[in-house]
Each structure stands twice: as C-alpha cells, then as structure tokens.
C-alpha cells in the first residue's frame, strides 16, 4: 500500500514538473526543472525495484544531460521567443495520440501481476539459472554482460559513435594557451575550490567501487564511467577546463574510447580462438564459472573506459565551444 502511495505522489510530482516545462519561456528554468524530472523518475525506478536503472538515471540523466544542456543554453541564449502560430492544432494532435495510447493500455495486462506474459518468457530462466551459470548475485549484470553481451557491445559502439559525431560537429577541444589560468573557472568562489578539492578524490574512489562492485550490488561499467567523468567535469567546472586538460587531455580520450570497445570485442575474439562462440566466456578459464567472472570483469572495464572517455569528451567539446564564444 505504501509503495502505491509513494508511486502516486512521485508520479504526481513528475506530471506537475512536465506541465510547468510546457509553459515556461526561460530555458534556464526549463533545464532546472528537467533535472528535477530526472531525479524524480530515478526515485520511481527505485520504487519499482529497478535499482540499476535508477543508478544510471541519477548519474546520467540528472548529471551529464543537465550539464550539456546548460552549456548549450550558454551558447544559444536563455529565452524562448513568443510562439506565433496557434497551438490548438498541436493540442488536438497530442490529445488524439494520447487517447489512442490510453485505449491501447486497456489491452495490457494489469500492473504488477506476477502472471503477466512478460514474466513467463525468459525472465524465470534468468532469475533461477543465472546464479548457477554465471555465479553473480546481481542478475542485471549477468544478463547485461553475459547473456546479452552482444547487445551491450552494440550499445558501447553507439556511445563511441556518438562521441565521434559530436567531435566532428564541434571540433576537438584544442589547448587554447599553454598557461592555464584559473580565471576561466569559478574564480570568485573560494569555498567551492576548497570543497571541490576535498570531494573529487572521493568521487573517483567511488567510481572505482561502482566499477568493481557492480557484480554484487547495483552498478557496473556504464555507471562507473559516468561517475568518473563527473569527477573530472566537476574539476573542470570549478578550476577551468585547461586544468582538467592537464590531467586527462582530449587526445588521451580519443585513445581511451576506441580502446574500451576493442577490449570488449577482443574478449569475444579470444573466446572464438578457444573454439567457442563470440563472447562466450565459459572457455576463458579452466572452469565455466571462473571464465564468466574473468569475461565480465574485462568487458565491464571496456565499457567503463569507453563511457568515461565519451562522456568527458562530450563535455570537453561543449565547454570548449562555450569558452571560445566567451573570448570573442
């Protein structure tokens, strides 16, 4: 009962936020409300038992998306101009589509019922057999890295491709001047400098924990990569991008991103050389369970590396644009 109540209150908050986003003209406020939207939806994911998803949404949706959107607004201006054409037609289209979708939901099985078709197909196998076959308590990691390893390889490649796309659109961040100046950061906020210095090591440590503890609790390569990137993004925001470039330069990122994908794919190739299918980890070590462990740790490392490099590369490209337009 409490679960339903919490769910309803959170969904109500989401609805209010979404409605407010429609009518706001100040894009800055729109992005702020969008970050609230992400936060609340992550809470709903927790309430619906999807802890891994909530983890990702909290790190990615609320963190990286918001930062990138803020960077874009800094370049394109803060207000939306008044809308000239009538919105009645749009409203009609939206209402009709919404009514059709609601009519569609009536044919869906009831919410939360354990006999629903979705719970009959492969899920029981994952839940019952994966602890024996893969040997990890976190079923999501087992499915992600082992049963659906090929799919995850594809997703990693997509992240890599998106990084290439952004870099070719915005250009790679080149070092503006040799001497890094703190002027480009939040120079006036001394307290922020001190606190950021204290907290950044903890973020990186936590990212490592998430990377290697992902087999047992919520977490894994995707989340760890994002959190590690977030640490450097915080550094770049507070002290200026040129300082962050000294730690991890854009050039290094261009090496890391393909390296992660290659690491992932080469695990699959090693399996093939040993006479099994692509991305079959059973043959990697003497016993099947040990092989699965090795395979999953290595591919999670590859995923983490690519996601870290892609997220930080995206941020570098955006902040480089902002700083250049600020100089002009």
């Amino acid at each position: 009962m409490t679960e339903v109540l919490i769910d309803l209150v959170l969904l109500g908050m989401l609805a209010m936020t979404a409605l407010r986003v429609i009518f706001l003209k100040d894009l800055f406020a729109v992005v702020m409300l969008f970050s609230i939207f992400s936060f609340v939806s992550a809470l709903i994911f927790i309430n619906l038992d999807a802890v891994d998803v909530a983890f990702t949404e909290a790190a990615v949706g609320a963190g990286i998306s918001t930062v990138l959107m803020l960077g874009t607004i800094a370049l394109t201006g803060r207000t939306e101009k008044k809308n000239s054409h009538s919105s009645i037609l749009h409203l009609v289209v939206v209402c009709v589509t919404g009514a059709a979708l609601i009519y569609g939901t009536m044919d869906m099985p009831p919410f939360g019922n354990a006999d629903n078709p979705i719970h009959q197909h492969v899920a029981p196998r994952y839940i019952e057999d994966s602890p024996k076959e893969v040997g990890l308590p976190n079923i999501v990691t087992s499915v992600l890295a082992s049963y659906r390893g090929f799919d995850t390889l594809g997703e990693t490649v997509v992240v890599f491709a998106a990084m290439i796309g952004v870099l070719s659109l915005l250009g790679t961040a080149r070092p503006t001047n040799k001497r890094a100046t703190p002027e480009s950061g939040l120079a006036k906020h001394r307290v922020l400098h001190v606190v950021a210095k204290i907290i950044i090591p903890f973020i990186i440590l936590f990212a490592l924990y998430v990377q290697f503890h992902g087999d047992y609790g919520p977490g894994g390569g995707f989340q760890a990569g994002v959190i590690a990137a977030a640490a450097l993004i915080l550094y770049a925001l507070v002290f200026g991008a040129s300082f962050a470039h000294r730690i991890v330069s854009p050039r290094q990122l261009e090496v890391f991103a393909p390296l992660g994908v290659l690491l992932y794919a080469s695990v699959g190739l090693v399996g093939m050389i040993k006479g099994a299918n692509f991305l079959d980890y059973n043959v990697l070590a003497s016993t099947a369970a040990a092989g699965q462990h090795y395979g999953i740790i290595i591919i999670e490392l590859g995923v983490g590396l690519t996601v870290f490099a892609a997220m930080l590369g995206l941020f570098y490209a955006f902040s480089n644009q902002v700083e250049r337009s600020n100089v002009q």
Partner: protein
C-alpha cells in the same frame, strides 16, 4: 521495539521536524535571502538527525560506512552550495527585501 529503536525513532522524528520547518520557511518566507537561510540551516541538522537515526538501525556492516559517507558528503556539499548560491545571487545584484523597500521609498 528495543531501546535502540526508540532512540532511532526520536532522532528520525527530530530530523523530520527540522526538515519540515525548513520547508515551511522555504515556502513562506518573503525574499530569497531569508529562504536560503531557512533551507540551508535546517537542511544540515535534518540530515544529521535522520542519518543518525538510520545508523542506529544498522547492523555492523558496510552500510555504516556508506551512511557515514553520505553524511560527510551532504555536510560538505549542502552548505557549500547554499553559500555559493547566495554569493552569486548577491553578485548578480539581487537585493534583500529591506533594501528593495528602501530603494522603492526613495
């Protein structure tokens, strides 16, 4: 309920009370700077009390460290954020209620 549970319940209730006062302040106070005051001060005490209440519920394992880490992070970041926000509001030229009244009178 054991004695620890009673203590924990008292701490949680205290934390909720302070959070609630903070929320009322945030909602009802007349201008930005008074709202920052209400929100940031009660935030800190609310966090301390609620985390302490949860600590009393924890058996001796990794969760204690995680809770302490959450406490440390929140104690560091939440006041810093409020401070930086108030500071940039001041630099951005936002006036307190008293100041804007005075400039209106003139």
């Amino acid at each position: 309920m054991s004695i620890l549970d009673y203590f924990s319940a008292i701490l949680l209730a205290g934390g909720v009370f302070f959070s609630f006062t903070g929320a009322i302040g945030l909602f009802r106070f007349p201008d930005f700077f008074t709202r920052v005051h209400a929100a940031s001060v009660t935030d800190t005490i609310g966090v301390i009390l609620i985390i302490a209440g949860l600590l009393l519920q924890t058996s001796f394992d990794l969760n204690i460290i995680k809770l302490l880490l959450i406490l440390a992070i929140l104690l560091l970041t939440s006041p810093t954020a409020s401070h930086a926000l108030a500071k940039s509001a001041r630099h951005g030229g936002l006036l307190t209620l008293a100041e804007s009244n005075r400039s209106n009178d003139r």
